[in-house]
């Protein structure tokens, strides 16, 4: 199986209630990165590792705060890849890197795709890379079978939505609302219709995220999708000193 198929398969195995967890690399403490990652892998069906960036324009205050703190402590794409390379065991769940484009550009797409494949990364999510601009990166990822996950939003017109769903590999990232990450999404009635459209157009699992933080939301969203994505709420739990595994288990009960 290609890495993007491994990702897809893992989410399909969750039978409609997949949990994808996001954490900012090296936050709160770089020393605990691999330990937290393993804990999260133990509960989640896939993990997004956030590559910190100075200008996270699609992120709310929580991820801004965690990114800035991580950069201050020297966390970089290079560091993350080295940490993953140093792991003795295979990841218990597929790993994605979530990064703004400039850190990837600075690393070099070619080199990055090869290295990511080497350290058992399954794919990428790049929030400032609409598909119109994605060919140079996608060509390099394709060489190694790595996924480039596409995002759709409630503002996406239907023709475009269909196209994005078709192109997405691993899963489709259905953003629950127009806006930035964090906060709490009120789940309006239209959400059902929107997620239904995405689900109908998608050829891979659909996972919904942005503002997901409570079990009730997870239950509701799972009626329409194959899973949910939790980011800011997990980071806040880590900030409160809670166990990542316990927090995620509580969400998916």
């Amino acid at each position: 199986m290609q890495p993007h198929e491994v990702l897809r398969h893992a989410l399909e195995q969750a039978n409609g209630s997949a949990l994808v967890a996001f954490l900012t690399a090296g936050y709160p403490e770089p020393e605990r990165f691999l330990q937290i990652l393993e804990e999260v892998e133990g509960v989640a069906d896939a993990v997004e590792i956030g590559v910190p960036f100075t200008d996270p324009m699609a992120d709310g205050v929580t991820i801004q705060r965690s990114s800035q703190a991580a950069i201050k402590k020297g966390i970089s794409l290079r560091w993350i890849l080295d940490q993953l390379a140093a792991r003795k065991t295979k990841p218990a769940a597929p790993i994605l890197l979530m990064s703004y484009l400039n850190p990837l550009l600075a690393f070099g797409f070619d080199k990055l795709a090869a290295r990511a494949n080497e350290v058992r990364v399954s794919g990428f999510i790049v929030p400032d890379l609409p598909y119109e601009e994605s060919a140079p990166l996608k060509d390099c990822l394709d060489t190694h079978g790595l996924a480039l996950v596409q995002l759709v939003t409630p503002a996406t017109p239907s023709g475009r939505l269909t196209q994005l769903c078709k192109m997405s590999q691993g899963f489709v990232y259905a953003v629950t609302r127009t806006g930035i990450t964090g906060g709490k999404t009120e789940l309006p009635l239209e959400l059902a219709e929107y997620l239904g459209t995405v689900k109908a157009a998608a050829q891979v699992p659909v996972c919904a995220g942005f503002g997901v933080r409570e079990r009730e939301q997870v239950k509701l969203i799972n009626q329409y999708t194959d899973g949910v994505i939790v980011g800011s709420a997990l980071i806040e739990a880590l900030e409160r000193g809670e166990s990542a595994a316990a927090f995620l288990k509580e969400l998916r009960l």
Binding site: T54, R78, N102, L105, E133, A155, P157, T178
Partner: protein, 422 residues
Amino acid sequence: MAPDEAAQHETLLQALLNGKLPDAEGRFGPFGGRYVPETLMPAINRLTEGVYRLLPEKAFKNRLGSELRDWVGRPTSLTPAPRLSKEWGAEVWFKREDLAHTGAHKINNAIGQALLAEALGATRIVAETGAGQHGVASAAACARVGLPCVVYMGEIDVARQSPNVDRMERLGATVIPVTSGDCTLRAAIDEAIRDWVSDPIETYYLLGSAVGPHPYPYLVRELQAVIGHEARAQIRKYADLPDAAFACVGGGSNAIGLFYAFLADENVQLFGVEAGGRGETLGDHSATLSAGRPGVLHGAHSMLLYDDDGQIQETHSVSAGLDYPGVGPEHSLLKMIGRVEYVTASDSEALDALAECCALEGILPALETAHAIAGARRWAASNQGTRILIGLSGRGDKDMPILSQYPVGNRRNGEEAVNAAA
């Protein structure tokens, strides 16, 4: 340069001159594009459609034309600078954007985009500002067309350009100080984009420079090109075309506005002046074109200041409007093909030039503008007897809180002044 590279540059220049750039993908050669979150793509597509439909439309042109004439006060003067000319040994002319309503070229863009926003049915405007000039221009333009306006401004800039904060608020805008990121223009743009992402249908983002995703670099250039068109016609009434034209470059809007009309004039050398700040170390300046490399920030692929990990660098300039790590994609192209030369002026050179302009011509230029004057002054020293056009992009009243930290001095005391204030 390899011959095929030279040929490629010539092809790109011709494409630019023939109005073929940006292309349908929003590219100026290798630069430009639309690197925005998916949530914004429909808004970007709607805006692009609106820009290409409305800008050439007669009714829109007439409306904009009368606002520029009756409200902005265009055409702005072309002013000879006789005492400065004598001092420098050159023939110096100023294109006086400081005389435009609200005191800088920023108003040309702000009123144009406010009219566009109104025509596209927006109910709310967001803008970013560095020096506060674009914020003031946006606040005024929004009052003029009757739309509510929110301006994001880094808290460092709020402090150093405080007169403009008061002006924006009196003109009815809500000013939101930005405390994230670097707390200057870059963080203000991040925050304005976050606001826009949250309401991409009703909100119009009134971007203040020739940066950002397509169609902004095109839109802003079209709205600012009036500077160069007027200046070219005005100077020809008195004299031949200039030997050189100078403009300061932050994001690059006044510079592209001045240069665009002269691109085909092979004998007019064009110079963009960036902020050299207090030194050449990364972090001590904002000289994006001189010291940067291609990267992606705020929606465009262009020259950028970043480190080996791809993290955007902190910048420094005494002028808030130039204190930015990126630059418009069209300037990256103009540098690549060699049509425009980009140089730097340091904080102290800019302060010197400002003092000299005050003393000899009775004009207090903005600190941003002072960089253009400093660049021209240096060039004049080795190009005696030439005719020089300087884009006087704005007036310096807003800079009083900074200037009052330095002693009122004679000319050429910038270095001392910087040291004294440090």
